[in-house]
Amino acid sequence: MELTTVKATTIKIRTHKKQQDRIMIKLFIFLALVILLLLIAAFAAQLVPYDPYAQDLTIALKPPSQAHPLGTDRYGRDMLSRVMMGGQTTIYSALLLVGVITTFGTLVGLFCGYKGGKIDSFIMRVSDIFLAFPGMVFAIAVAGVLGGGIINAVVALACISWPKFARLARGQVLAIKNMPYISAAKLSGSRATKIVFKHILPNITGPILVTATLDIGTMMMELAGLSFLGLGAMPPIAEWGSMMSDGRSMLQTAPWVILAPGCAIFITVMLFNLLGDTVRDVLDPKTKKRPNRRRK
């Protein structure tokens, strides 16, 4: 009787360990692929086989061949080189955007959650207003007002996206603010900034990191969408969204002009989503709890 329970527990622990190992392996694989992608994008200028901006009308709109694996666009520019250069613009502006909204939102949330009171409710009402605009509507308007340019598109999307992180951080702060260890820190004379950054921030980074990673893909698609509408990166700068917009009129005759950047976005977004899902599996306590509830 005793022995079987021990055995069962051992098996349970072992399968749990195996699951954990699998998740960690997945995490490393996706992380490695994302880093590879980031490196290719970062060193695109050195890696490209051709100058992505050099025009040669004699080879315009050529289908994929050995010399040009992804074909050429209507100015005879090599698509592979342009997709690589475009990756630099698209991926790093999406990362910049997520970095900005995560940092800003978290700081606002930390401040509001810890401080409380009137200033907290005022800032939260302001964030309500930003959240009251449906999805891209406000971003389209801001980008339209600011004019074209990838930085303006980043600003437009940052305007509507920071409240999400502010609310998330604030909620987390409220949950741990009244824990005994915070009171102990206060009693021992720690200053507010030290408590917030040393005792609260490390404990709320998990959920914020998960949300931020999962947001990279979405933000990338929205940025590319703005560029596609002509509200983001301006030609001749290579950017996946504007490259696809460029190829719209040649969809019938030269589908590769759209397929190359389109597939690049798809693969990149998918990779970041896979990474985000895995990071969530590693960090999110919610998914860890599930087997516990079953056992009960």
């Binding site: 309500d128 999805g135 339209g144 969204g241 696809m244 998918m270």
Partner: protein, 311 residues
Amino acid sequence: MKKYIGKRLFQLIPIILGITLLSFTLMQTAAGDAVDALYDNSGGVSEAVKAEKREELGLDQPFLIQYTTWLGGVVTGDMGVSYISNKPVFDTFVSKLPATIFLTLTSILLTVLISIPFGILSAVRHNRFTDYLIRFFSFIGNSLPGFFVSLLLIYFFALKLKLFPVMGSGGWKSIVLPTLTLAIAMASKYTRQVRTTVLEELDKDYVLGARARGVKEPVVLYASVLKSSMLTIITLLALSIGSLLGGTAIVESIFMWDGVGKLAVDSIMMRDYPMIQAYVIWMALIYVLVNLITDLMYHYLDPRIRLEQEV
């Protein structure tokens, strides 16, 4: 319940004021050079003419006066005149709205038809082949940007197979591709959410109890689990209307669907600020209203919340 409705309506006032003030400020910062832009293409125009035009448009007044005059106009449905067509902005917006609402409704309908059965199926066959397959497709759909999907659909269904027209110009066929584009993105998201909701419900103790009492599996699923998860599912869908309203802009301008999204994109290209302003404000108001109705409906339909409030 009445008290709750009152409270929610009261909370709406600062939000609506904020929305209008924010949109107004935004457009105002930009509109300063709108007069310059207006005359850019008509060659050299003297400063006097420009100043006259500014006065005509009310751009020379102090900020707060402009805002209150304009807000009074918004309430009465007078949001100014388009810089481009000289027609009333509000009328133009309203005339394009039905097309967008129609597109939104067909997309939601298709989303419901796809995501609810597949989400349930995925939950019931948890961690089996069907579940993996459905999750795989919803993952793919989640990683595809809308404009890429629409171009792929145009390429295959309009240009290669010639089944549907490329652009939306009348006929039931022209709505198929834009609807499909919007529904693919939404359904991939909602299949996952339906799956999670049903899984959570299946995990509850009453399901275990019903199974232990020998209640048949279909009865457990349809009579208990689905009934209680439907509320969450419907609420999630209703809340997605907002992202859909914003998302139609890209799809509408690709398929030349003559709705408010295309109107907004065109207006931005032509720097027609009153038009953009009307679009932003009305979309936000519609969104806020839809969310309010959803929230009230949720409170009304859920007996746990309703009864608690009545007590």
